[in-house]
Amino acid sequence: MPDSILVKGLTRYYNGFLALDNLSLRVKWNEDVALLGPNGAGKTTALKILCGLIRPSKGTAYLAGINVMEERERAISQVGAILETPEFYPFLTPNETLRYLGRLRGMSERELDDRIMEVLKLIRLEDWVNVKIEKFSRGMKQRLALAQALLHDPPILILDEPSLGLDPRGMVEIRNILKEARKKKTVFFASHLLTEVEQICKKVAIIDRGKLRAYDDIARLKKKYRSFERAYLKLTEGSI
């Protein structure tokens, strides 16, 4: 069985600036891995390459054994993603937005009737199902972003700062949803919040200035550096 996510020597330059430097890692099925690093470390760049939004300067990425660069659509069908701070079409409602995305992911109208309410209940937006998104707060949009990522029940979740913009209650709720999701899915998410990473994941990939500094169990890193925080600070030394 192929790995859930396989990244081989990913390198990406932005106009001569090295954003990602030969990143390689492997995520097994139903593993939950956090991509941790300071601002500008290359986390979002890595996730964007995995979702086929940008191309690497070098290297390859596979999702469920499918090469993202060569078979983007087929690879991406395995994934539910939140990238950057997602924005939605302001004139559409959550129902219409999720129906649009669900149909593109091959779901039938009948399937969507039930599933849309299910995911909206999960993220507690069921009362807003037919309200135009232009009226939504930042946190509500973030919840909706998670709903669309979970909509087609994908085996892999790729999430970039999933709790960004949420209030403390929202953060707890999202973390609980992700804890539940990781029982059946691969959760690969980027964050710079140590507490969040510790709560959701067992394994962490720490990157800094585009380079992979460590890829290990959090428990092992804690043991080696005496605390997770010390491990992070030590491995990202020199960063702003």
Binding site: G52, L53, E73, V79, E84, T85, E87, F88, R105, K132
Partner: protein
């Protein structure tokens, strides 16, 4: 799910986005106003007679359904503005407003997304144009008791012109960062750059039949009455402007010229959008 099914889905929801925007209803209201004003001014100012007062009586063209239709259905600018309104920010906004982070990570080809957006823009623009033509057709029935057959050709050319302008707008929308920039660039290109080229060619004695703006003007040539013949009296000597070549447009040729531009420009915008990264 086939790409064709996905194309239908993209078109449906992109169209829903278009008709939920205030600009759709604004464009519709302005269209109704423009057509009603044109009809009112044509009749109220007795334009056929006033425009031909410098032409010898024997050479004048009398008011008819065809002449009226030339005035009320020759709305190239309406087709252009409507197309630019809907198409200018269609692709650029996915990058500018970051909605592409939701749309692009889906198992759908970028070609399908661009073509779906194109069809949605075309349907929205065609709705505006059809409303204008329906009002004009109603006025023709009221005042002349008939609708000239040339209206079909005129409508066809108006729709094809809108396709060309949408394709042009898609190129700018796929290249530029902002929707507003793409809208302005499209209008400037069509209304200034193309016009300058067409006019220069005319002054040099060449018929610019291959220019999109010139081909678009052919929507007034489907009735067998030339606007130039009527307005010539105002210019003097039957010239459009001193020294300019006056060539009559061939509606069929113009249609295919516009079709060629529409396909070629859309092809370029698809190529660019496919390569554009969501940085």
């Amino acid at each position: 799910m086939s790409e064709f099914e996905k194309l239908k889905v993209v078109t449906k929801y992109e169209l829903l986005k278009q008709i939920r925007r205030k600009r759709f209803y604004g464009a519709l209201a302005l269209t109704v106003l423009a057509v009603v004003l044109t009809i009112g001014l044509y009749k109220g100012l007795n334009l056929p007679e006033k425009m031909q007062q410098n032409i010898p009586v024997t050479m004048r063209i009398s008011d008819s359904a065809d002449l009226f239709a030339v005035f009320v259905t020759s709305m190239g600018s309406l087709a252009v503005f409507s197309a630019v309104f809907f198409a200018g920010d269609t692709i650029a906004s996915e990058f500018e407003r970051k909605t592409g982070y939701i749309l692009f990570p889906n198992p759908v080809n970028r070609i399908t997304i661009v073509v779906g957006k194109y069809l949605a823009c075309f349907i929205a623009t065609a709705t505006i144009i059809l409303v204008a033509y329906m009002i004009s057709a109603g006025a023709l029935l009221v005042f002349y008791g008939q609708i000239p057959g040339g209206i079909v050709g005129s409508l066809g050319l108006a729709l094809m012109l809108s396709c060309t302008v949408i394709s042009l707008a898609f190129i700018f929308s796929s290249v530029l960062k902002g929707g507003m920039g793409a809208t302005i660039a499209t209008l400037l290109t069509y209304m200034v750059i193309f016009s300058v080229i067409s006019m220069s060619l005319s002054y040099a004695g060449y018929d610019p039949w291959f220019m999109p703006d010139r081909a678009g003007d052919a929507m007034a040539a489907t009735y067998g009455v030339s606007f130039g013949d009527v307005s010539g009296g105002m210019m003097g000597g039957g010239q459009m402007m001193a020294g300019m070549l006056r060539a009559s447009q061939n509606p069929t040729l113009s249609f295919f010229v516009l079709l060629g531009y529409a396909i070629a420009l859309l092809g370029v915008s698809i190529w660019v959008t496919k390569r554009r990264e969501m940085i």
